[in-house]
């Protein structure tokens, strides 16, 4: 009891001493961001005809699905009454950003991602159903949903509809993660969150994290399979990662400069927080290690002629630091937004527990879970076109 109060400096409203949103809520925008980012990367090939990234198209879609399936779990685990969460669908409160997010999520899962993956894989599923036996055959036959016509005409229709779904999918992916930003950005009581830039900052950071994840996964899975990654593809992803990162960083700096210049009533309190309790996670980890260094590495690849192996090393380092930086950004938004008092007169401390419902252990599990789902999906629906032809 007293330990909770010991973390307080200055004056907090008494009910503010305990933090309400834990590391699990940090995971939620992080995971959702990966979904939106991976999908937007996939759509580069489908809609914008960026042929170079084609080898990662299916992997990006499966990555988006794996993370999307895991996205609601941290929220569920965090709820005081998870058994009541269905009420958000049966009796949603229409003015609530959180309630409406449930529908955005469902729309994106059912109308965009599953449909696009199914259309793209339909031919493969039918072929796999024909080739396999026993339970596997039954599984693939079920996945065909009874549609086993793979004539040229039929596949052409699949492709056309698939393209249409992707075109709808892009604004949907923007909506999905922009909306997560809105959930925070619309809380007027909290000056750390309340900015109209929040949805757009979340969106671009999502794109950054999604590209970085697919880049790392593609390089890792290629290595696992004993194949050389397609370097023009990796280079293109690296380039897009750099572009998206520059936009993302500019937006965040715009937000920062705006806050410093306006210096409203909350500024002193927030400024103090950034220089003390958030210094490591915000300035060191997010801005320096997680943003400036990876941008520098990615820019270096563009400016200096380097060997393939060196480039791979740069991409590996930049990709991992990017994910660390984006995770730190989510952390600083969610946890940082609760460390100061709404009276602007004091600060509290977040003490993460380990093996509790909202502790570090379930957080690690929930972060690894989508990777396990992805492993299953890759086994079920191999995303490698080269193996097909081989």
């Amino acid at each position: 009891m007293d330990s909770v109060l010991q973390g307080v400096q200055g004056f907090m409203y008494p009910n503010e001493v305990e933090l309400q949103w834990s590391v699990l809520i940090v995971l939620y925008p992080f995971v959702t961001g990966l979904v939106a980012g991976a999908f937007i990367l996939a759509s580069l090939e489908r809609v914008f005809n960026v042929e170079a990234v084609k080898p990662t198209y299916r992997l990006a879609l499966l990555t988006a699905l794996a993370f999307l399936l895991a996205a609601p779990l941290p929220l569920q685990l965090h709820l005081g009454h998870p058994e009541r969460s269905y009420e958000m669908y049966t009796t949603p409160h229409t003015t609530s950003a959180m309630a409406m997010f449930g529908f955005v999520y469902l729309w994106y899962l059912l109308a965009v991602l599953l449909l696009e993956i199914w259309l793209d894989y339909r031919k493969d599923i039918v072929m796999l159903a024909r080739e396999s036996r026993g339970a596997k055959r039954l599984l693939y036959r079920t996945l065909t949903l009874g549609s086993d016509n793979i004539s040229a005409r039929s596949l052409e229709i699949d492709s056309k509809v698939g393209r249409f779904v992707t075109i709808i999918g892009i604004p949907s992916a923007f909506l999905l993660h922009g909306y997560v930003g809105f959930i925070f950005g619309s809380v007027k009581a909290n000056p750390w969150w309340s900015t109209p830039l929040m949805p757009i900052v979340f969106l671009f950071s999502a794109i950054v994290s999604g590209i970085a994840t697919v880049l790392l996964l593609y390089m890792f899975l290629s290595w696992m399979r004993g194949r050389k990654p397609d370097m023009p593809c990796v280079d293109t992803m690296g380039r897009y990662l750099l572009y998206a990162f520059i936009i993302d960083f500019s937006l965040e700096m715009l937000d920062l400069i705006h806050r410093i210049y306006e210096a409203d009533e909350s500024f002193k309190s927030l400024d103090f927080m950034v220089h003390t309790r958030l210094y490591t996670s915000q300035v060191i980890v997010q801005i320096v290690v997680g943003t400036i260094v990876p941008i520098g590495l990615l820019a270096l690849v563009q400016l200096v002629r380097t060997t393939e192996i060196a480039r791979k090393g740069f991409y590996l380092a930049a990709g991992m630091l990017t994910l660390v930086g984006i995770f730190a950004m989510r952390w600083n938004v969610v946890i940082g937004g609760q460390l100061f008092s709404k009276s602007f007169l004091g600060y509290t401390t977040y003490k993460m527990q380990f093996a509790t419902r909202e502790g570090l252990l379930p957080a690690i599990f929930l972060l690894l879970l989508p990777l396990a789902i992805l492993w299953g999906l890759v086994k079920l629906l191999p995303p490698w076109p080269d193996e097909e032809s081989a």
Binding site: P14, G80, R84, P92, H93, A99, A189
Partner: protein, 260 residues
């Protein structure tokens, strides 16, 4: 005056009957607005409160009464109402860039009262500020609740349906005044209900009832006879954080600019 035995019994019996009736009515009489529960019409009321900072002595009666009346957890970070003590040092008028920086404390929410800490006469301002849910007409907490478990009753009280609350804590984040907490026993949100179980029976809130100086007064803004109207007309009242445009209905008399 001579009273015979018959007269004594008659008068005594009458007094006995009368005092029993008076005792029964006492609660309603003390509450100020005697009214039968079944006669309560939601549409006829619009509740608010006046807090007179100049009258608050920081005794903590209201905090204790609230915790007892509403079974609020005893930990020092769960409160439906609490009292803050402000100490505002003399303003440095020569250096206008030096801003008000009040020292504020609220040990155990003011539950045990306040130990003397500041000396009078040093040019500083010292006062107590009782806080509670502002029962806003445009409540941010009501707006964000994903299932409508937090709602505004037609008589202007923001309430929580604990059977419906998910425990998502979005409302806790949305309240600018820090008036909400998660009850660890039910894992649902809790907050001041303006003693709804009392005010709908014609009684006042526990905090108002126990305040020894009358610093808190419940008011029905729809009742033209309610003294709250006269008070609002004749005093310079302010609400907390007016820039939040929440339509707060707890009005403070004598609110210093340093209070947040």
């Amino acid at each position: 005056m001579f009273v015979d035995r018959r007269g004594f019994l008659k008068e005594g019996g009458r007094l006995l009957v009368l005092s029993a009736a008076a005792a029964g009515a006492l609660d309603s009489v003390l509450a100020g607005r005697p009214e039968e529960a079944d006669a309560y019409r939601l549409a006829d009321h619009w509740w608010g409160m006046i807090i007179d900072i100049e009258k608050c002595i920081g005794c903590g009666n209201c905090v204790r009464a609230c915790k007892t009346e509403n079974d609020v957890p005893t930990e020092p970070y769960y409160f439906r109402t609490w009292v803050e003590r402000y100490h505002v040092p003399p303003k440095d008028l020569v250096h206008p860039e030096a801003e008000d920086h009040p020292e504020v404390d609220s040990p155990n929410g003011g539950y045990d009262g306040f130990k003397e800490k500041y000396r009078a006469g040093d040019g500083s301002k010292n006062f107590f500020v009782p806080k509670l849910c502002n029962h806003c007409a445009h409540s941010p907490c009501v707006q964000v609740c994903p299932v409508g478990a937090t709602f505004e009753s037609p008589d202007g009280v923001v309430l929580v349906d604990k059977e419906y609350c998910l425990g998502c804590r979005y409302c806790v984040q949305a309240c600018p005044y820090g008036c909400r907490f998660i009850d660890p026993r039910t894992e649902t949100v809790d907050k001041c209900s303006l003693c709804y179980h009392r005010i709908t029976k014609g009684r006042t809130t526990a905090c108002c009832e126990t305040c020894p100086t009358g610093a808190r007064t419940l008011g029905d803004l729809k009742d033209p006879r309610d003294p709250i109207h006269e008070f609002l007309r004749t005093h310079g009242v302010q609400i907390l954080k007016p820039q939040m445009a929440t339509g707060a209905k707890v009005y403070y008399n004598g609110l210093d600019g340093s209070v947040r």
